[in-house]
Amino acid sequence: MKKLMEISLGVVTSVGGFLEVGSMATAAQAGAMFGFQLIWAVVLGTICIIFLVEMSGRFAAVSHHTISDGIRERFGFNVFLWPLLAALLVNFLVLSAEIGGVAIALEFATGIGFQWWALPVALLAWLLLWKGTFGFIEKGVSILGLVTLCFVVGAVMLRPDWTAVARSALPSMPVHDVANYWFMAVSILGASISPYLFMFYSSGAIEDRWDKSYLGANRAIAGLGMTFGGTISIGVLIVAALVLATHGVTQVDDYHQLPLMLIPIFGFWGFVLFVASLAIACFGAALEVGLQQAYLVAQGFGWNWGEDRKPRDDPGFSATYTISLVLAAIPIALGLDPLRITIFSMALTAASLPLTVVPFLFLLNDKRYVGEHRNGILSNAAVIFIIALGFVLAVVTIPLQIFGGT
């Protein structure tokens, strides 16, 4: 019974981590411009992240190491430096985008420009990390995050052609805007396969004191939670396709367009639901990414870390998330368009994947860490596929950014 509770909580938590400004914005853009056609990218991204999350949870439960610990110990400092720097940079951009997402939601709600909200949002996030415990943050984010289910409800209420939806789960070639199509596919994959998500998950497993008895729960949480998250992303995409595209709004390059998705379905409540979903999903993600920055640095250099401990006990750890939040708030406070930061950071995430995913191939096959719980053929095939995908994405992202980007 306790395990069942734990699993359902874990599932809900992973939804909080999965759905953030990146997946919402990319799904909305894709739905508006290409209808259901890019659903396959969400499906593919979700399958990839299921494998990676399952592996990082298994790694943590069996070896009592986080993924960042593992990379540093197994490959040495000189190799670790590259994923470290890449992840810090990508996380910085993603954190900025999430703070921007909350700030936009607050602008919608109050009419006060988003740049004025950047620092208050960062301060509130910092306060929660400063005073809160891991469990409090995890549970709070997840329960409030359920509001994002309104996209799924909306999608169902619109009665989409389900056979067309199912057909779009397989990739097809675009008939127009080829460069844009691939750029969006890359952004969706970047939004779904976020390194912060699987790295955070392994730290969370250590914070929650997982051991081998959690392997089953881990598998269930990874599979169900990420599927749940992916379903909401598909919900956003369907709503965008059926509301925005049918109204002739095919290009979503202004964040003001986003609330219009839910208004035709729910009226004024649609506006409220959208603002609440955006604010909560992004705020939850901001907490997780801010914490992940501190985990990454503390684990990489071997300092004490733990969200449940008092800040004065881990000065290095708490200083890192403090600085991360302040730095990430700056671009938003300066008035840089949050939607652009989001799209840019999603593409960069995709490009950085090889650096963070290649270590999985070694760590999850190393008997000294995972013993008999090594990767099977399927998991290894998945990792190799993700690495190959990552390389392709890395090579195509930069030119697409120039020609396909908005």
Binding site: G111, H247, D254, P264
Partner: protein, 151 residues
């Protein structure tokens, strides 16, 4: 042996640059190269956004502050698009002119709607919405003429 290494590195870098250039070329060829066409579609999408936002506002489903902000932001986009279409080089100047006019009409209608919103002048907003519909229809017509195969 030692003096060969930098040379090799340089050569490899050139090769990589070549590949990148080729890729860039291919992609630029794929992506729709016509400025006017792309900008017109942006304008169409922007005008529909404004209509959606105004409908939502009229139905009481969107707060005034949000609607005003949206119109302001989209208005900027439309002004920018109008300028890009006007200054683009093309072999169809007549179609270009009618596209420019349609986009300028859209901009003007958005500005009027925004003024109406701020003054809480519902009939004024409705008039502006009407103009917006007309202008977006003439945009569609002009666009169809522009992309139609020339005789």
């Amino acid at each position: 042996m030692a003096h060969q290494t930098p040379d090799l590195i340089v050569r490899r870098r050139y090769l990589r640059l070549d590949c990148l250039c080729l890729l860039l070329l291919m992609l630029s060829a794929c992506s729709s190269s016509d400025q006017i066409e792309q900008q017109s579609r942006t304008a169409a999408s922007a005008s529909q956004t404004v209509l959606m936002a105004l409908d939502a506002w009229a139905a009481g489903a969107a707060p005034t502050a949000y609607t005003v902000d949206t119109l302001q932001s989209i208005g900027k986009t439309l002004a920018d698009v109008g300028e890009q279409i006007r200054s683009a080089e093309t072999s169809a100047p007549a179609e270009q002119a009618s596209l420019t006019k349609a986009v300028n009409d859209l901009s003007a209608a958005v500005a009027r709607a925004e003024a109406g919103l701020q003054a809480d002048d519902r009939p004024g907003v409705q008039n502006a919405q009407q103009d917006l519909r007309l202008a977006s229809r003439s945009l569609v017509t002009a666009y169809a003429k522009y992309v139609a195969p020339k005789p």
